[in-house]
């Protein structure tokens, strides 16, 4: 799983005076699920749009090795004069998929994402938000993408559909497909992610493998400490807070050697790491 599906190097993007993305460098490994995490307006969607060719970066480059790309936007919008059947039929036609194959694909994937087939004869504009999202999934899934980019995959979906989509992602991963997800719902993406990327104010702060990172670090909260921030920085690069309240990500391998030092502190809490703690640590 070390082969890269996508490499982005030094991406920069400005909207007038606003800097949306600064020197974003990251990669997405083939055959895995990479999650893009960031607060609202952090630059996730801008980067996705650059990758997909909807936006031009001011500098930097994107290298992609995908044969077929699937894409589900955060808020899918469709041509107001087309119904669901039209859109699927045009998508199939554009990718050389025949009528009977399309019918089978639509049936298969509708079931997988809990999409009601009866909606297809209706104008897509009349669908609920959740159904628009599911329809967008369906549109991409019928082309059998080897690289699937989904912006906020769980937005507007009910818990039943969220589970279905999560299972679908895992199935796609088992089939060797690459997924790149951007999401706010950390608890959901944590269940399926291999790698994660954290972005803040247009800058990539961290890219790691989730399990390796969780195995390697422990989350330590220190209150009323006599230890100073600078002292702790010699122990771990991931320290933040002020002199009365500190949090740090400490390497588990160093924990034993640090026990004596930590005993001098009146209030120490150690927690296992989860994606939410990592995200909040880097973005708060």
């Amino acid at each position: 799983m070390t082969e890269k599906m996508l490499t982005a190097t030094g991406l920069c993007k400005r909207y007038g005076r606003i800097i949306a993305v600064t020197d974003a460098t990251f990669s997405v490994l083939k055959g895995g699920i990479t999650t893009f995490l960031g607060e609202n307006g952090a630059g996730k969607t801008t980067i996705i749009k650059i990758i997909l060719g909807f936006l031009k970066s001011d500098s930097g480059r994107v290298q992609m090795r995908a044969a077929r790309i699937g894409y589900v936007p955060e808020h899918p919008v469709f041509f107001g004069w087309l119904n669901g059947k039209d859109i699927l039929s045009y998508t199939a036609r554009a990718h050389g998929i025949g009528h009977s194959a399309l019918r089978d694909l639509v049936e298969t994937f509708s079931e997988k994402i809990a999409f009601d087939l009866e909606l297809l004869s209706r104008n897509v504009r009349t669908y609920s938000l959740g159904n628009k999202k599911k329809f967008s999934f369906l549109q991409s899934l019928i082309i059998d993408p080897d690289f699937f980019i989904v912006d906020e995959p769980f937005n507007s979906l009910d818990p039943h559909s969220i589970k279905k989509v999560r299972d679908l992602f895992l199935e796609m991963k088992r089939e060797g497909k690459t997924l790149f997800l951007s999401s706010h719902i950390i608890s959901e993406v944590e269940k399926i992610s291999d790698d994660f990327i954290i972005i803040k104010k247009g800058r990539i702060l961290l890219q790691e493998n989730l399990n390796i990172f969780k195995d390697r670090f422990i989350y330590v909260e220190i209150k009323d400490s006599s230890l100073k921030l600078e002292e702790l920085r010699t122990i771990s690069p991931y320290v933040k807070g002020n002199d009365s309240e500190l949090v740090m990500l400490m390497e588990k391998s160093r924990l034993e050697s640090m026990e004596d030092l930590l005993k001098t502190v009146s209030c120490v809490k150690k927690h296992d790491l989860d994606l939410e703690k990592v995200f909040l640590f880097f973005t708060e």
Binding site: Y15, T45, T46, K49, L52, G53, F54, L55, K56, I69, G70, Y71, P73, H75, P76, V77, F78, F79, G80, W81, L82, D86, Y90, T91, R93, A94, H95, G96, Q139, S140, I143
Partner: protein
């Protein structure tokens, strides 16, 4: 996406849009009724001439909400238009809308021609005028397309029509003081460079005038203006992005 499939899909999307527009149907059938009325009340020749002079407006009508509406609606942010394909889709709309408009007006022209041949009123001049009318129509689509980068809905069409109205009103005032240009227009002869330049400016706003036999030679200007508008559209399209709203 293979190139042939891409063309197919772009055409189908455009075709369905034209068919779904009630305004298009209203104007198309309204135009047919008007032609029928003139034929009934006046003559076949008047009706045919009226058709030849005004059919380019059908092209202009089809150019409404060509670019900006779709660009801002978010519907181009779709798996069909990845890797910048939304740009070629938007540019190709010129071609497809021209084709659809040509199909409509050619059908009417054929009906008129058959009736004209049967009644012995058909003139070969009509074929020339129809061809030049098509050229004017193509200019209207390229101009309408260019304007729709800046104006939403049908305001690009309204701007062209408003421009023509203002020009005619201006001419009425101008003619009261200096009637020479109007005389030149009537005679189709422009003796000096200044009046020729004025005519060329007039043609930019009201290109339908070249459908008249007296101004056939100026159809070259229409062709050049059409090419210019398409060239500008191409430059604009190249820079397009699906920005976040």
């Amino acid at each position: 996406m293979a190139s042939g499939n891409e063309l197919n899909v772009s055409f189908l999307i455009t075709w369905k849009k034209v068919l779904s527009s009630k305004i298009n149907f209203f104007f198309f059938f309204g135009f047919l009724l008007l032609l029928g009325y003139i034929w009934q009340k006046d003559s076949f020749a008047s009706s045919f001439k009226f058709f030849l002079l005004l059919f380019p407006y059908l092209f202009l009508l089809l150019s409404q909400d060509m670019i900006k509406d779709e660009l801002e609606s978010g519907c181009l942010e779709n798996v069909l238009f990845l890797e910048g394909k939304f740009k070629s889709y938007l540019l190709r709309k010129n071609l497809f809308l021209s084709f659809i408009a040509c199909l409509c007006v050619f059908t009417i022209f054929c009906v008129f021609s058959i009736c004209g041949i049967i009644s012995g009123e058909f003139s070969s001049l009509y074929i020339y005028q129809f061809s030049i009318g098509i050229l004017v129509g193509l200019y209207y689509i390229s101009l309408g397309g260019l304007l729709s980068f800046y104006f939403k809905g049908g305001s690009n069409v309204l701007i062209v029509i408003l421009g023509q109205l203002l020009m005619f009103i201006g001419m009425l005032f101008y003619a009261a003081q200096n009637s020479r240009f109007v005389e030149y227009l009537d005679r189709g002869v422009f003796p000096d460079a200044l009046s020729q330049l004025k005519l060329m400016a007039f043609i930019i706003v009201f290109p339908n005038i070249v459908i008249s036999k007296k101004f056939f030679v100026y159809s070259v200007e229409i062709a050049l203006l059409g090419v210019l508008a398409i060239g500008l559209q191409k430059i604009k399209t190249k820079r397009l992005e699906l920005s976040q709203k």
